[in-house]
């Protein structure tokens, strides 16, 4: 016996095993009937679909286990369509599996690589054709062509310029100005300190003048949260403390991470939580980030009251609100 390592041998394609329907005429008839029945179920599905479309009213709801309260029109329309489609597939596959030829055959693969002869001929042709065009020789044409093709790529880019205006100072400015009244959202009513109890939260917007409705783009920068604590609960610098009024502190509601509305306030811990990425801000410490991906505290709005006792902004936001951007300085 030689010492050469001998692999286990390939026994070759196993012999074909006939199905019952191939040999037994009764089984063949049975399979044929089964396929026909499957097609008929599909036809019934279409009938159900048409019936549901025209005859089941759209406002009938009924309780269905698992699904809960279900609209009958929509449910039977969908079930009819699903039945009609599914059973066509089931019939075709059953037909293929029981009655169509199932003998495995062997086909040979062709090599993907071209013959050397063809490859050489191609290279020769390309060289000859390219040579005839004289691309290699005519460097003046080559360079000017490079220039023009390079430049023409700029036109579509330039054409896109009017997609939008330049940002300008839009990202750094909001509608809040010194003396702007805080109004409720929704409702647009001016708000007094006594409207807020200790522990309460309110969403406010700057008072809106003019007939036009407020733009969503303005809300996206102007939304502010008011939170009232006991004044002694604040742990603020004296400057920031002067931005509060009687325990009421105001923060931009637009998250300093990615701009979601920081909507969840937990009264017991005095934390503000952004539901998008869970940045958590500590309200008594000027909305300092205590957890999550945000790198900056929520901007604080300096507030006070006007002569009529309504809450107003002392001055605009001292920093841009919302997510960071390149031109932001801190």
């Amino acid at each position: 016996m030689s010492n050469e390592i001998e692999a286990i041998k390939d026994p070759g394609l196993p012999a074909h095993v006939h199905r019952q329907a191939d040999t037994d005429p009764v089984a063949e008839k049975r399979a044929e009937r089964q396929v026909a029945i499957l097609f008929l179920i599909s036809a019934l599905g279409t009938v159900l679909f048409i019936f549901a479309y025209y005859f089941i009213p759209e406002d009938v709801f009924f309780f269905f286990p698992v699904l809960g309260n279900t609209n009958a029109h929509q449910l039977f329309l969908g079930l009819g369509l699903a039945m009609a489609l599914f059973f066509i597939g089931a019939a075709a596959i059953h037909w293929a599996k029981t009655l169509m030829p199932d003998e495995e055959v062997i086909a040979m693969r062709h090599t993907l690589r071209s013959d050397d002869e063809d490859r050489d001929a191609l290279v020769a042709t390309v060289k000859e054709r390219a040579g005839a065009a004289g691309l290699g020789r005519r460097s003046l044409i080559k360079r000017s062509m490079g220039l023009s093709l390079g430049l023409i790529g700029l036109s579509p880019l330039i054409l896109l310029r009017d997609l939008g205006p330049l940002p300008g100072d839009d990202l750094t400015k909001t509608s809040w100005k010194a003396g702007t009244r805080l109004v409720t959202d929704p409702g647009d009513r001016p708000i007094r300190p006594e409207d807020l109890e200790v522990g309460a939260v309110a969403q406010v917007l700057p008072e809106h003048v003019g007939k036009e409705r407020r733009h969503l783009s303005d809300i996206a920068k102007d939304a502010v949260l008011l939170i009232r604590l006991r004044p002694e609960e604040f742990q603020l610098s004296s400057e920031r403390l002067s931005w509060t009024y009687d325990g009421i502190i105001a923060f931009s509601k637009i998250c300093s991470h990615m701009g979601c509305a920081v909507a969840l306030y937990e009264q017991t811990t005095k934390h503000l939580l952004c539901p998008c990425h869970q940045s958590t801000f500590d309200v008594p410490r000027a909305a300092k980030v205590i957890f999550g991906p945000s790198a900056r505290a929520l901007p604080q709005l300096a507030i006070t009251v006007d002569s009529e006792g309504y809450l107003i902004a002392q001055k605009p936001f001292s920093e841009p609100v919302g997510p960071s951007f390149w031109e932001r300085s801190s």
Binding site: E6, I8, K9, D10, G12, L13, P14, Y53, Q74, L75, L77, G78, L79, A82, L85, F86, F87, I88, G89, A92, I93, A96, M100, D102, E104, V105, I106, A107, R109, L112, P165, P167, D170, L171, Q203, L205, R213, S217, A220, K221, A223, H257, M258, G259, C260, A263, P275, C276, H277, Q278, F291, G292, P293, S294, A295, S324, F325, W326, E327, S329
Partner: protein, 528 residues
């Protein structure tokens, strides 16, 4: 000749005289396709794409891609009288007033999820079985491109209704654009036609969603399928199957019937889901308002891993010379996904560099026989899974009464330590399975029958396995590691030493395996 044959002949003649199709058809109607359930995964993707085109076209008949503000006066009572965009109002109209509209919306959304899931599972099939190897690298890259575009297309699609949830998603996308160094705020203003949200974005992404991206999909899918057709499908190793042949069923009639039937099955299942399983109930979310948000806001799952990465990012920003770089957005939102998808696209080339294997492969690998590749795949999946889990950290926290901080810290630590652990475990499992295969070939199947020998010893009777199975378990190649020397024949250190060392190290790890049984081993056992 019957009348029917005459008509068919006339039609065929008419077409062939104008196209010469007969020659091509003759050859291709009997084209052989190997059969295996895992080859159906790509088909599911193709069929979902067709379902998406059909149901999506239906939806465009009523959808109004406009952020113009309207006052809702439709039949859904809770929202009556509210200001909202025409896009949102028309989506409500499709859902509540158009008969079958809700069904079609739900079919469209379900088909999109199946499309994406199908792509992911198809990719896993191709990866774990080594079907991406030469000559199929182009198709692998096209596939990675389709997956990437699919994520974008899905995101744009669920953004179109302009409800509170999807608007929040757009807000986050805007923040990612805005975070790009130097050009960020400009790009954001160009994309949105001004400040977020403006009135330009929905109409623009509508065009991209229904024209630009589907067009690219159609082109890429066509090339993808033409290459599959031309290169012929891969096949599993088995008796009679070699690198030179393809064993399976001819296209006509059985394969046509099965593939065509499978389209209807996929469509039927999608329609069933659309009928019974409510998805994206936008009427519950309300119209988008940047000052509001719903708790539990999260994207569809194929974006969820990305959101999970963003959630777990450390709070890092750099402020330099009056400019801001938001690492907390750039790293999870762009840099890590960029590395992941580039690595995915380049994987076939990396593997062939490690193994030095430049040959064509048409026989698939059983995942256990390539432990390193399999382990790397499971490691990547583990990474994605931890990211995805963190994408739902709020839901997990509320469902299992955990604190959000606990879930977040689990993910932050887990995403670093779990993938390598998964690698090691997977590799060990693969080697154990190889050992089990060896046992099975050499000693046969355990029958469970006990035999008492005359001297009282009990032994279990083993039955030899069939030659077909033995061949299947041993048909794979076990290539040795690359013999890379650090020094050349004259004892001079080679250039690129570190690269060489890395390649050598990886090649060695790659070659680690349990020796497959040979005929010699079998004979030796018979002698005992």
């Amino acid at each position: 000749m019957t009348a029917r044959e005459r008509v068919a002949g006339t039609v065929a003649n008419y077409v062939d005289e104008r196209t010469g199709a007969a020659k091509w058809m003759k050859k291709n109607l009997t084209k052989v396709f190997p059969d295996h359930w895992s080859f159906l995964l790509g088909e599911i993707v193709l069929y979902s794409f067709i379902i998406l085109l059909l149901s999506g076209t239906f939806l465009t008949f009523w959808y109004d891609p406009s952020q113009r503000e309207v006052i809702y006066d439709g039949s859904y009572v809770p929202l009556q009288g509210l200001h909202m965009s025409a896009a949102y109002a028309s989506t409500l109209h499709i859902s509540f007033e158009i008969r079958g509209g809700m069904l079609m919306r739900q079919i469209h959304h379900w088909a999109a999820l199946i499309f994406m899931a199908g792509m992911v599972v198809h990719l896993m099939r191709v990866y774990f079985t080594g079907a991406f190897r030469k000559p199929r690298e182009f198709n692998w890259i096209i596939g990675v491109g389709l997956l990437t575009l699919g994520i974008v297309e899905g995101f744009l699609g669920y953004s179109l209704p302009d409800d509170l949830l999807s608007g929040t998603g757009i807000r986050i996308a805007e923040a990612i654009i805005q975070a790009l160094p130097v050009v960020g705020s400009y790009l954001a203003f160009f994309a949105f036609g001004g400040a977020f949200p403006g009135e330009a974005f929905i109409p623009r992404i509508f065009t991209v969603h229904i024209l630009l991206l589907p067009g690219i999909f159609l082109a890429l899918i066509t090339v993808h399928l033409m290459l599959v057709w031309y290169q012929k499908h891969t096949q599993w190793p088995g008796p009679g199957r070699t690198e030179k042949n393809v064993v399976g069923y001819p296209l006509m009639p059985a394969y046509m019937a099965k593939a065509g039937g499978f389209f209807f099955i996929v469509f039927g299942v999608t329609a069933f889901l659309g009928a019974v399983a409510s998805i994206n109930p936008i009427w519950l979310y309300g119209p988008y308002n940047p000052g509001q948000v719903s708790a539990g806001s999260q994207p569809d799952w194929y974006m969820g891993w990305l959101d999970g990465l963003v959630r777990m990012a450390p709070p890092l920003e750099t402020y330099l010379f009056g400019y801001t770089i938001s690492w907390n957005i750039l790293i999870p939102g762009l840099i890590i996904p960029g590395i992941l998808f580039t690595g995915l696209a380049l994987y076939p080339f990396i593997e062939s560099w490690i193994t030095g294997d430049k040959r064509e492969h048409h026989l698939l690998d059983r995942p256990r026989n390539v432990p390193n590749r399999t382990a790397l795949g499971v490691m990547s999946l583990t990474f994605m899974l931890v990211a995805l889990i963190n994408g739902g950290n709020d839901i997990i926290a509320t469902t299992f009464s955990l604190s959000i901080n606990q879930v977040m810290w689990f993910s932050r630590i887990g995403i670093i330590i779990l993938p390598p652990i998964a690698f090691v475990i997977t590799k060990r499992i693969c080697l154990s399975l190889q050992r089990a295969d060896r046992e099975l070939v050499l000693h046969g199947r355990e029958t469970g029958r006990l035999l008492m020998l005359p001297h009282g010893e009990f032994v279990e009777v083993h039955e030899p396995i069939s030659p077909e199975l033995a061949w299947k378990l041993t048909a794979h190649e076990q290539a040795p590691a690359l013999a890379l020397e650090d020094v050349d024949a004259r004892g001079v250190r080679r250039a690129g030493g570190l690269k060489n060392k890395l390649r050598k190290r990886m090649s060695q790890a790659n070659a680690e395996s349990i020796a497959k049984p040979t005929a010699n081993d079998l004979k030796e056992i018979e002698h005992h």
